[in-house]
Symmetry: C2
Subunit: 640 residues, 2 copies
């Protein structure tokens, strides 16, 4: 399917800029993606929805959009770029199809590819990628979601038979919310505590067949269907309980730890904690994909609501006898245009995240530091993107009034489906805590010595720069910050140097003060849990401040890479709208910490208004730049 | 069904306090309400859901919860208190049943009762209240939602036959999103432009039969089924198009304007604009009820999420080997406890709104000023309550993780159903604009003279007091404000006097500055629409500031009326949590306008944390105080 012929030239230039380093595969995807029957009838009952989704997944997979990028043998390394591009494309259709694909190829396939070894790859990947073997990623338990280290399921080696016994020792150990477990899965990657000769070696993963060809539970396995959910109704989530289920030794995914022929545990990584985090680290692609998918879902909603606001009139006004276009109301602009700006910002950030994934998981070679950076950025951007998708889609629904509530206009299904994105692949609050933890670790490593010498204050400026320099994009931003420091008071609010300074200061200052409070908490004589517990909101603030700065960096480098002068100029304004919206939300913090004058703080609102007015005439090209072909939106109210 | 026997004494005292002046009927309702089969299977397909909902509505109505309070004849005035109490109770069950009841009794019945005269009352109300006559409230058109004055449907008097001809002159005139129009309605109250002898008399309402007994469209009527929606799937919303449909003259609801036997238009209200607003004003009960229903929906979600957080543990910690209870995490407290506090605040405000409705629509007698105050408060509280229900339910879903997404735990259906509450019975943004418009009108009336003399600045203090004194509760708050002004710097943040001062100042200052900007805009030589358009965000700020102050007033008087010392003490803290959360969200504004010192602004966060810590041990009684019997919650994860 081709793009509508009447996309504006400016819209095309914006789209190319936002597609960035992935412009070529994305443009190809828009041409090649079989977009017919893309959207599911929201009225389908659960059973029918699940079969519809599986059928669509088979068709899309046959057409090359599904298992794309997933390796098919031990000799094949797969392509992370192809995988993310395919996932993004699927996000333009029914999100149950997207998530079912993610469960099958990303989680089930990804676990086998990343945690397994040659035998697993050659034995299972071919059938898996052809959708002949449908499987589950059985990590979460009823009693243990975010806390993977505390999983209760046991995987006990029995030397007598050279088998593993997989068991759920309590109701809380029930595997829960597992995709493909409700109906279609015939095998599961089961995460549990590996026990060899009475010694616990921490969480490992083992392949366990769960259903026979007729779909009946295998002996010792009890699956449960979790039925109807708040969204993603076409994905068959379910529970799995294991009653001393036995599998041969080679079913353990043993890339990072396994049992040898003598029945001894052996691992390439000595530290159990490092092993645990290394294993989880290989699964980072899931978060990258979910972040990308949420980004597309948000863009779909924003495209629908903005295009509607360019059609729908309400209330006659002086000089506007037929009524005012919704998007001509300032309140409506203030509702939609900052969402549009943030969608651009997150799109540029996603490009950088995708690029980092390709660097780490591709063939080019990367460092441990790249891997850590990827994990932190993926965790953070996943939290920000999915949080944004939820609030943006709700705003879009409300901005379309009653029409927005009709299923035929697609917004409510998008909203319901994207809801759980805030929870799966890592609860957003927990992910933000991870981000801050990583920042504190870096901070400690870099400045531990100086700190003990009591000179931490003096190094504040340097710390800020070091934090900012951790990424390539950071260099660009740091240059802006340096320039800003030379003339802090002479810059306008739309000057990128001033924005960069504010974003960097917000992160630096909040991180430093958190580090200080952390040290105090660590020295408490009282309840240590409570001492750290009190820092909870501060921890989240630091994570958000860091991510906003990271996103601004991506936006700035994305603009630098844009060759079209008109698009470049417009993107500059979009970036300012993003940046000032972010600063506006935290302006109390800036005032409280003496980083902004009262006059400037008060003036932000007017500047936001001015930017909305300037962007308003370009609303259509800006929507086109988001890259969702109009005919893919499928919203009845946009027809005719 | 009785309350669980083990409700704490403190919980009961809190419930009694929050029930306030309606403690007696609400307690009775909790005992008498037939709560079995209260919750709908979320998997029901549309057709089945609609029949289930109608069946439930008939049962509930037979049991006295449905048409309660709706008059059954011209001699009967109905009871607004009974109507609101019944609506609140229905909000504890499936929200489609609630809204179907609202459509039938509140809108269809309310229009006939309020806009009709004796013949309409005696002819239609008995069958209507017995659910033998199901009807629609056909106001909204595809092209005209919030802008009722611009409705296109015409109601033209034909003297030749002494009939009205009802007609939809364009596709935009299609009646849309109309409850009961999709399937069950056999008659509609149709709003349109009344034309008599070629003269337009503005919007009036006429009764038009739309379906025969077999459910077929009557000649000239074309109904459409809008099918699946983002929520409230059990309500049959639809479209209606009229093609020169004729009804006898007496079908016009002619309380405020009609055609006499000589074919002349006659009205008890001369000004067409006053007539229009008077007619709409009689329909205010709908907004009061929607606000109340949203309040209950939010309380259900908050009850579920808080009770879950008191059961579910995650991550072991020092001294907490079995894991930490979710509600012991400060981040979780900061997520849920402010919602709980705001639910109390809105509950007290709803009591005051209900009381005002009873005063205006009951038999006690009231003034025009009471009516205006009711309309403004209903518009505002509807916007605030429904906005809150949406954000609160989403937070509650996320706070329950994957479990929150399972339909069996009820949060997602509540969230989906309540979504459209933000739009129907008045779009929230438009309602907030109405509130500010009313405040500006009062302001102008009171100070217009002085203003022209240029002394408006000097009267600032007095204006603030006058605004605050408009309600009885305002007197209480004003006393606090006066006390605060005597010693503004010596008060703590939990001192109600300081809070009252801040709330009042926020409203007064923002209203005054808006009034100034309005005057400037009115004098513009340029585009007048744009001049006012620019004030959009300011207008919304004023409305919110006003409503927050109004809500605080209600909270303060609610505490004053609480006889139980322990409950009273705890409510004081809950009120502070509400008030400081509100101030915290606007602290940039207070800093920018010199109303708060930087030190105090920074300290709010710590005070919020402290309040959460103090309230945490009382979380269960506080939930009980919200008044939702635990067994009515129906969330599977709370069992056992």
């Amino acid at each position: 399917m081709l793009l509508t012929a009447d996309t504006t030239t400016l819209g095309e230039a914006l789209r190319t800029a936002l597609d960035g380093p992935f412009a070529e595969p994305r443009a190809r995807g828009r041409v090649e993606f079989p977009a017919e029957h893309l959207l599911r009838d929201p009225e389908q009952p659960v059973a029918e929805a699940r079969e519809w989704v599986l059928t669509r997944l088979r068709e899309l997979s046959d057409a090359g959009f599904g298992a794309a990028g997933v390796p098919v043998s031990a000799a094949d390394h797969g392509s992370p770029e192809d995988a993310v591009m395919a996932f993004e494309l699927l996000a333009h259709g029914d999100l149950s199809v997207l998530i079912k694909s993610g469960v099958q190829f990303g989680l089930f396939g990804g676990a086998i590819a990343n945690l397994g070894t040659a035998w697993h790859h050659d034995t299972f990947l071919p059938a898996l990628t052809r959708l002949e073997l449908l499987g589950c990623f059985a990590m979460t338990e009823l009693g243990h979601g975010s806390d993977v280290a505390s999983l209760e399921t046991t995987i006990v080696y029995d030397p007598a038979t050279d088998e593993f016994e997989v068991h759920s020792p309590s109701p809380a150990a029930t595997k829960a919310y597992i995709g493909n477990a409700g109906r279609h899965g015939s095998m599961a990657v089961v995460f549990g505590q590996l026990v060899v000769d009475h010694v616990r070696h921490g969480v490992h993963a083992v392949l366990v067949p769960i259903r026979d060809e007729a779909g009946r539970d295998l002996p010792g396995v009890t699956t449960g269907d979790q039925g109807h959910k708040g969204g993603l109704v076409g994905v068959d989530n379910g529970t799995i309980v294991f009653d001393h289920v036995r599998v041969p030794r080679r079913m353990l995914l043993d890339r990072y730890g396994g049992v040898d022929e003598q029945g001894r545990y052996a691992s390439v990584i000595e530290s159990p904690s490092r092993r645990f985090f290394t294993m989880l680290g290989t699964l980072v692609r899931g978060r990258v994909c979910i972040s990308a998918g949420a980004g597309i879902a948000a863009r779909r909603g924003i495209s629908i609501a903005t295009r509607y606001a360019l059609k729908r009139r309400q209330f006659p006004a002086p000089g506007r006898r037929d009524g005012v276009l919704l998007l001509d109301y300032l309140t409506h602009q203030r509702r939609l245009l900052p969402l549009l700006a943030r969608a651009y910002a997150l799109g540029f950030a996603q490009n950088d995240l995708n690029r980092l994934l390709v660097k780490v998981q591709g063939t080019a070679g990367s460092t441990d530091r790249d891997q850590r950076e990827l994990e932190t950025f993926a965790a953070g951007l996943k939290a920000v993107s999915t949080g944004f998708a939820n609030t943006a889609l709700q705003s879009c629904r409300e901005a379309c009034g009653g029409a927005g509530f009709m299923s035929e206009n697609r917004l409510t299904a998008l909203r319901s489906d994207v809801d759980i994105f805030a929870t799966f692949e890592g609860d957003n609050t927990v992910l933000l805590q991870l981000v801050t933890k990583a920042l504190l670790t870096d901070y400690r490593q870099l400045w531990g010595e100086l700190d003990r010498a009591g000179v931490v204050q003096a190094t504040a400026r340097v710390v800020g720069e070091t934090v900012a320099e951790r990424t390539a994009a950071g260099v660009v931003l740091e240059r802006l910050v340096r320039a800003a420091r030379r003339q802090p008071d002479g810059l306008t609010m739309v000057d990128r140097r001033w924005q960069a300074l504010m974003f960097t200061e917000r992160e630096r200052h909040s991180l430093e003060s958190l580090a200080r409070r952390m040290r105090v908490a660590a020295r408490t004589d009282g309840d240590q849990f409570e001492a750290f517990n009190r820092l909870g909101e501060h921890v989240l603030f630091v994570a958000r401040a860091h991510l906003e700065r990271r996103i601004l960096e991506s936006f700035v480098t994305g603009i630098d890479a844009c060759a079209d002068p008109e698009a470049r100029d417009l993107l500059g304004k979009v970036c300012s709208l993003y940046a000032l919206t972010s600063l506006n939300a935290d302006r109390a913090w800036f005032l409280e910490h003496g980083k902004m004058s009262t006059a400037r703080s008060k003036a932000i609102d007017e500047q936001l208004e001015q930017l909305c007015r300037e962007l308003r005439p370009h609303a259509l090209p800006l929507v086109e730049g988001l890259g969702i072909p109009e005919e893919w939106l499928g919203a009845a109210m946009l027809d005719g």
